[in-house]
Amino acid sequence: MRVLRELTRRPSALFGLIVVVLVLLAAIFAPWIAHFSPDDQLADGLSLEGAPLPPGGDHLFGTDTLGRDLFARVLFGARTSLIIGLVANGVAVAIGLLVGLLAGYLRGAAGNLLMRFTDLMMAFPALLLAIALAALLRPSLWIVAMVIALVNWVQVARIVYTETRGLVERDFIVAERSLGAGNGRIILLHILPHLMPTAIVWGTLGIATTVLLEATLSFLGIGVQPPQPSWGNIIFESQSYFQDAPWLVFIPGAIILATALSFNLIGDALRDILDPTQRGRL
């Protein structure tokens, strides 16, 4: 609660919160908000010449090249983007926590091996890898989510590792161990709670990265497959018409930007609030 109050006191974080809540509501209530189905190729959705309709009138955001209502597609696209954002990023943070915690706690040969593996993953051209995997694996929503998780866990692992290393040396852990606490108890009850702020901050910042990565993959045509709308593939489908129908590219583009920006702003504010030592840095 304290965190939420502090968040609302910062103008930029408040802006982020409002946008995120709006996007969440849009995703949840999409069928009730939209007047049209996102897949309906409306009879009056194209002009007499067969061109998509610009924003205004019945269609708030206009229609796309197949005469579908863009507003409805963007609303339903929010579902896809948020599901991937939450699932992919949740998995990435979970893997990162597990690897970082184990490596930091075990140290020794096993810990070293885990961290060398993480170093190796850092040297991996992540976007290239994601593109290659997504393209070759017959993309679907879940494949895209897993590919993103696979390339995004590394950074979390490194940060958790550094923090765990610091924690293990601290007196209260040493004291706990000398009282006879087992490894499981120490990790779950004493180390994990201390890592929660980091997990929350990176969990939030990571959603921004994930939403952008999903949009990029979908824009290349290897993310979520049409007709299921996602913000990226709406742009993918109409990118060659961007001169005649710019709204088809720039409305979803602006929404991707606003969403990613909002998660970044909230994440940044959370880092300030939860970790005072980082305040004012970067």
């Binding site: 290239l128 694996l137 921004a208 004012g280 970067l282």
Partner: protein, 306 residues
């Protein structure tokens, strides 16, 4: 110092081998079968088997990998499945275009980042500072392809100042470099700002002020050199990230670099080219990090003496 650098070199080679191994494994287990794709739709199973044999795909995984690494050590990246030529010359032919783009993008990032980062640090809390902090967030939150399309829409389609796509003249470089430079500049500005704030607090800076030096000389002559280290590290990281991220920009602008080569290869399941480009990108990441290690001693005498 020399020992440290030598160890870093050995690590770099090991990391590259590791990347090669993992990429190889991933591509090996993919459901897409290159032999089927090359043979075409009307091929008989015999033809597919023959192609598989010709490419060495019928051998056990370990043999294939050892064979690949053996060739790699001789500088041989294998032959492309679809283009029927060696992979290395293909990559080398595309590399200059990507390097030009990378150089232009990074120069732009550093120039913008230094300028605005320094102003923000000196005028901490002021209008420029707050704008830079906000805009840098917008930069990292922007989908690259949307910005690329926006620049195309405004400066190429509407105003007609720059060509829509292609390669060859200086005018072709501007929009792709702007896409990369403007979006990345935010991070540099933040980095420069926080490094400069740290340095400007120090006693020797106050001494310089007290000696009566002009504000400009204190900031640029005395403070900036000590804030350069993180920026060099960042350029190193950037070089690596760049190679991996260039696919999108090259796709939008029709820029004939290795990003486009990779993108075509991915669509055709041309595994040797995908492997080759991945390795070149990993090499860029490793070299970028090494660059930071090797340049740092020249910038900071304290590191040299260790």
């Amino acid at each position: 110092m020399a020992f440290f650098l030598a160890r870093r070199l050995v690590q770099a080679v090991l990391i590259l081998l590791g990347v090669a191994a993992i990429t190889f494994l991933l591509l090996y287990f993919l459901p897409a079968d290159p032999a089927v794709l090359i043979a075409g739709r009307s091929a008989t199973p015999q033809m597919v088997a023959a192609i598989r044999h010709e490419l060495g795909l019928d051998q056990p995984l370990v043999m294939q990998f050892l064979h690949y690494v053996g060739n790699l050590l001789h500088g041989d990246l294998g032959r492309s499945y679809t283009q029927k030529t060696e992979v290395l010359p293909l990559i080398l032919a595309r590399l200059p275009a990507t390097l030009i783009l990378m150089a232009a993008g990074i120069v732009l990032e550093v120039a913008l980042g230094l300028t605005f980062g320094i102003i923000a640090a000196v005028r901490r809390g002021g209008f420029v500072d707050r704008s830079v902090m906000m805009l840098s967030f917008v930069g990292v939150s922007s989908p690259q392809f949307v910005v690329a399309l926006l620049l195309l829409y405004v400066f190429a389609a509407t105003l007609g100042w720059f060509p829509m796509s292609g390669f060859g003249t200086a005018r072709h470089v501007v929009l792709p470099a702007l896409t990369l430079g403007v979006l990345g500049a935010g991070w540099y500005a933040r980095m420069v700002r926080s490094a400069m704030i740290e340095v400007l607090r120090q006693d020797y800076v106050r001494t310089a002020h007290a000696k009566g030096l002009s504000g400009r000389r204190v900031v640029l002559g005395h403070a900036l050199p000590n804030a350069l280290l993180p920026i060099i590290a960042m350029v190193g990281i950037d070089i690596g990230q760049f190679m991996s991220g260039v696919v999108v920009v090259e796709a939008v602008y029709g820029w004939p670099g290795i990003g486009q080569l990779a993108w075509q290869a991915i669509q055709q399941v041309d595994v040797p080219i995908i492997m080759g480009v991945t390795l070149v990108s990993a090499l860029a990441i490793v070299l970028g990090n090494l660059l930071a290690d090797f340049v740092a001693p020249f910038v900071d005498p304290r590191i040299r003496s260790q």
